[in-house]
Point group: C2
Chain length 761, copies 2
């Protein structure tokens, strides 16, 4: 629809630095090609015995059916929102010209996110049976199969995010108008967030409802082991691992990279006088380096029968990190250089980000692995029953934010300082903009291994499924040992990535705050300029007056924090209701067909899958719309009815000096923008802490149970084990539904406020 613009972009204009855009696009295409090559390799491998294929096919059909119906629901919601955004932008003559661009980038973000999720899962649910088949001969081959299957997700997610942002930048004329176009890309992040929220929430409800339901009715009522083929919910449980952990986390990281990308470009635009186009394109190049480093990291991983698979995966991670760091240094020296710039300080910001990523992973390990104090305290508390198990698990969960918060504060303060130092010789840019760009570089550093980490994460559900297939098809002990080893490594990687995801969400959120404030400044600037002589803009004005002691801001902040609690409550209740439906169906199946328990006839797996699918998708709508609706309502209501607007007007009426942007002596109404800022910032802080509590508390409960199952304190079937199972069940919706959905919620708040910012001023 903007064909002339597109052609203009391809025309041989080549401002300084335009080459980097083409490099980014090229690398994204290469990475996609490599992912295709990996996927073909995986799919061409041995797909195991007929027994195994029956199970694998059932998982595949269930997962694909879920995804299809999920995308239909999300698509419908996205279309409605696209119309709303379009209409909102068209309302005012000032925003009307951007309506189409915003909607196009919104839809592009949504489609790319969906595509990434679908491709990743397409490959994962085919990799699981190949990993299972490979485990019959060699641990190394099984490990590689699972990791490469996971790498498809990692690469496709990051590459599509990069490709989407880079192409839109090109198409919207970023090479001609580099300072304005980043603001027009915010829709891409919003589209990605929207899909991510529903993917993570729907998938999270599905996976835990199936898991809790299968456990409750299988282990507890019928007394059959986990993954027993007689349990009608067992396929739904395996499907859940794919749609929750795999498609959900993929959408989460897609959103992180997309939002961080756009936010960093907006902050780069503020430094245009220093770095020119290169400062804006820098985040794209970092993602490109991320892709190349991760490809190498995946290829170097190999192991032998003796080694702990986790060591092999970590080797790949270290290689990736080292390469990413080298690339980062090259990019900093190549792109962020110029008169008065000291690139070493800026590289330091990137290193801070990488170190923060490591710290988050270590802290997560400390809180969730059985050899440290926190899990041991839960184990000991299990000896006095379920109540003390729960109390100590919640106490551990509430303790967990302390160290990560200290790490985030240190990372932000240091990278801010490094940014100011690195650009100290540059004039005409405020120290604030310099420091904030430093924190943005740190965020890019933290995300600079995202593709590899996502590959490790997707490794989790693949090995989990491989283990399930091996278990259900009655393979020999040696094969089971291999898949058990892989499964255990997969559980670790899943827990670590959650720590990484929440850490990157908090850093990215800070970046996105800053982008929001910068966007409001830019909107006010346009508004004043449009007013001509009647407009007044104080020299050097920035939008920084987010005072929580103003009533609408405080109300916004309270509502933002409350939103995270209410959302979590709705998500957890949704799991409970959906799990009840699973329990009911399994009971019905056992009653209707006694042959199931006898082992003479097969349960109707598909029926159970269908029930969970329908229920999970229905349940995700209300909390999802709440998250979308609340910031919009707060912004619009405050903008139109807020007393703080009158307050400022009255100060001016009294004849005092004007220190705020004004048109005809009336200050620009910032009440809506301020209230939304309060909601965004405090909602983010509350969400980050609650997510840490839930992720780490849930992980600690899980591993306390597993520790007892290794035979400690009486082992399986002891009273302590029963107590630990209670804790594990409580932790399930925490760590796999509400917690991960909160990461996404945080970023959705940021992207929705970026997209709708023009409506709040």
């Amino acid at each position: 629809m903007h064909l002339p613009l597109f052609l203009a972009a391809l025309a041989p204009v080549s401002p300084d630095g335009a080459l980097y855009l083409w490099i980014a696009i090229g690398v994204a295409l290469v990475a996609l090609a490599f992912a295709f090559f990996l996927a073909r390799g995986v799919i061409a491998s041995d797909a195991g015995t007929a027994d195994m294929q029956v199970i694998s096919n059932a998982i595949r059909e269930g997962a694909e059916a879920f995804l299809k119906r999920q995308y239909q629901t999300i698509g419908a919601i996205a279309l409605v929102l696209a119309v709303v955004v379009f209409a909102g932008y068209r309302l005012s003559p000032r925003t009307a010209p951007f309506a189409i661009k915003t909607v196009v980038s919104f839809l592009a973000g949504a489609v790319c996110s969906g595509l990434a999720g679908f491709t990743g899962m397409y490959c994962s649910i085919r990799a699981n049976i190949r990993a299972a088949a490979a485990a019959r001969t060699s641990l190394d081959r099984a490990l590689k199969m699972a990791l490469r299957g996971g790498a498809v997700t990692g690469l496709v997610v990051v590459a599509l995010s990069l490709l989407g942002v880079a192409s839109l930048f090109l198409i919207f004329g970023g090479l001609q108008n580099p300072q304005a176009v980043p603001y027009q890309l915010v829709g891409f992040g919003f589209g990605a967030s929207l899909v991510a929220l529903f993917a993570q929430l729907g998938g999270g409800i599905y996976t835990k409802a199936a898991d809790v339901g299968a456990d409750l009715v299988g282990k507890v009522e019928a007394g059959i082991p986990e993954d027993d083929p007689r349990n009608p919910a067992v396929i739904a449980d395996l499907v859940g691992d794919n749609v929750g952990d795999c498609a959900g986390r993929g959408a989460d990281i897609f959103e992180s990279t997309a939002a961080e990308n756009v936010g960093a470009m907006i902050l780069g635009a503020a430094l245009y006088p220093v770095f020119g186009l290169r400062g804006i394109l820098f985040p794209l190049i970092i993602l490109a380096i991320n892709l190349m480093a991760s490809i190498v990291g995946v290829l170097v991983v190999n192991t032998n029968e003796k080694e702990d698979p986790m060591r092999a995966l970590n080797r790949g991670f270290y290689v990736t990190s080292a390469l990413a760091l080298l690339g980062f240094a090259a990019a900093v020296y190549g792109m962020l250089n110029g008169p008065g710039v000291q690139p070493l300080w800026l590289l330091g910001c990137g290193v801070i980000g990488l170190i923060t990523a490591f710290l988050f992973v270590w802290i997560t390990q400390y809180y969730t692995e059985a050899r440290y104090r926190p899990v041991q305290s839960i184990v000991k508390a299990s000896l006095t029953g379920p109540a003390t198990n729960i109390i100590s698990g919640l106490a551990v969960g509430m303790e967990t934010p302390a160290m990560p918060v200290a790490a985030i504060c240190a990372a932000l303060l240091l990278s801010y300082y490094f940014g100011v130092q690195g650009l100290a010789g540059v004039s005409d840019v405020s120290s604030y903009a310099k420091g904030i760009y430093g924190t943005a570089i740190a965020t890019m550093g933290m995300l600079s291994c995202a593709a590899y980490i996502l590959a490790m994460d997707t490794f989790g559900p693949i090995t989990d499924n491989a283990g399930g297939i091996i278990e259900m098809s009655n393979q020999p002990e040696a094969v089971r040992d291999r898949t058990d080893k892989l499964d255990s490594a997969g559980n670790t990687t899943k827990a670590l990535t959650k720590g990484y995801a929440v850490g990157s969400a908090s850093l990215a959120a800070f970046l996105l705050f800053s982008a929001y404030l910068e966007e409001i400044r830019s909107i006010v600037d346009q508004k004043i300029n449009a007013a001509g002589a009647a407009g007044f803009m104080p020299h050097g004005w920035t939008f920084t007056d987010i005072n929580l002691a103003e009533v609408p801001v405080f109300a916004g902040a309270l509502l933002g924090a409350m939103l995270t609690y209410l959302f979590s409550s709705l998500a957890i209740k949704a799991v409970g209701r959906t799990a009840q439906m699973v329990v009911q169906d399994v009971r019905d199946q056992f009653r209707e067909n006694p042959g199931i328990m006898a082992g003479t006839s097969k349960p109707d797996y598909a029926r159970c899958v269908n029930i969970v699918t329908g229920a999970a998708l229905k349940e995700m709508v209300v909390p999802g719309l709440l998250v979308v609706g609340l910031p919009v309502a707060v912004g619009l209501i405050s903008r139109n009815f807020s007393p703080s607007y009158q307050a400022v007007a009255a100060i001016l009426d009294a004849g005092k000096a004007i220190t705020v942007p004004a048109i005809n002596g009336v200050p620009v109404n910032l009440a809506g923008a301020k209230a939304v800022a309060g909601l965004l910032m405090v909602g983010t802080i509350a969400g980050v802490l609650l997510a840490m509590l839930m992720n780490n508390g849930g992980g600690a409960w899980d591993n306390a149970k597993k520790y007892i199952e290794t035979g400690q304190y009486g082992g399986k079937r002891s009273e302590a084990h029963k107590a630990a199972v209670v804790g594990d069940t409580v932790g399930d919706p925490f760590k796999d539904t509400a917690g991960p959905s909160l990461h996404v919620l945080i970023k959705l708040l940021a992207t929705i406020t970026l997209v709708l910012a023009p409506l709040f001023v």
Copy 2:
């Protein structure tokens, strides 16, 4: 030490409105006399049989021993802090003149709070046996005995708070220098908060450790009923009700009234041009009205054998509210009047506060009473075991902040608007100051029944103890029925007051934010004035630039939110550890003396009481010091090392317009003040939500268990009941230790930042 000042205050200067100060002091003294009269009446009553006295004496001795040791610990901490505050103030010549006044008011606040707590408990632990004795003849007499015993606490707490603030105002020369003296009273609030934090935390740890410990070992291991005299921990349990619920909540409300009083006086000082001295003294008169209305409310309560005691208590509450409203109206029309003022709007603010109090009580009832959906959902979830009980209880807890947050937002927005309207005709005062004073009036409205509500609250532990005494001394069934009825009403009042306490904490916190910002403005003003010609103050400057997108502010905010989680975690773990010591001691006693279980010899109650006392006091120190230390550390570190200071300096160096207060062209360093503001505000929001989750979640679990015990879903000893007991045990440290301590933490953050504000600039 300031004798001349004191004499000057008594000299016949009588500025307009000084009479109100004498009225406030007079009413406080009358209320204290009336409390003495009530206490004498209670103590002169029949003290029951010798059997009953043995138990009552054991409770009394335990409670007094705990309180004595607790006050020693708190006293030592307070003295150390007094030295620190004194030294801090003496460091700078600007603050040195206020060092003595601040320390004096700090110690006065601490001593008054301690005195109020001691007096209240002195009477409560004597009222319990009198209420038990009265229950042998009449429900009406027992109800009155318990309520009047509670009223002593309520009246002493509010009267001492009023007397302390009013006397200090007088002694510090408030009648001569009314605009400056309110700032010198902030130490009073800090002293009160400090005692309250340790009283609530130590008492909360004590009460729940004894309760959980006694339950675990008694009910679960030995199979003996609650309050069975063979359980060595049973006296410790009854002592706990006094030291936690009674002394702890008393200190909490003392602090609320003291902090709200001082905060409202500071905001009143900002409106000095409009109302003069009367605007500053208005909060004192509202407390005086509160005392008179509550005295009448207590006196009108009576009941008969048939009536639900809750109805009788509510009648008293309605009478108190109606009288308070009348008094409020009279005070508004008498004191807040003048040219351009429309008192009806201001009265509206007070009405909003009263309505908010009612709303909080209703919402608390909805979430914690068995007849509504939330508790019923927990009851139903108990049918599928402890895990689902816990999940649904946590889901209810996370849902609970939604409605109260909506109520707070509405109350703040409306009262702000009413304030602006009511003072619309007044010039020379910003709309912001007008609106904020409106919210302050609403807060006073909410607290205008505090003394009666505190009486109802203290009614709870008195009736609980009375029930225990009756149970342990084997009284007839009819007597038990009476105390059961009273006990059940007491449980309700305890739950409702917690809702009220958190509601008033959140409104008061907003008031205290505003006071903090106003204080910083005043400190900067003094600093600029002291600099003479070198100082530059922009016209109409106020301290409003608390931007969460600045790194130190964001770090402060994150740390503030994290503090509430870490504090709760420490408190809950302390309960667990202390409870383990109780369990151990009971097991030891059963083993050492088999005659205990046989009923032939008496357990050593005092030994168990001593163990809990020592452990609870030891455990309260670390979390308490964390709360005191963190804001101080954030303020001082940010002030001295913050990059944002350099940032502002750099903006100015670039030759742009100065819009901030500066001395010799260098802006005043506000980095510390800003970071602390972030910590205070976001810490408050996080704390309020977490407290609601814990209070209401805990209350809902408790009542779900009680509902099943009425015979529903299998009644006592069914599987559902076992599951519900798990939830109740988890909820105990939530609702009685961490939750109530969080209310106090919120206010402590506010008062400590007010006291130390001069050190942060």
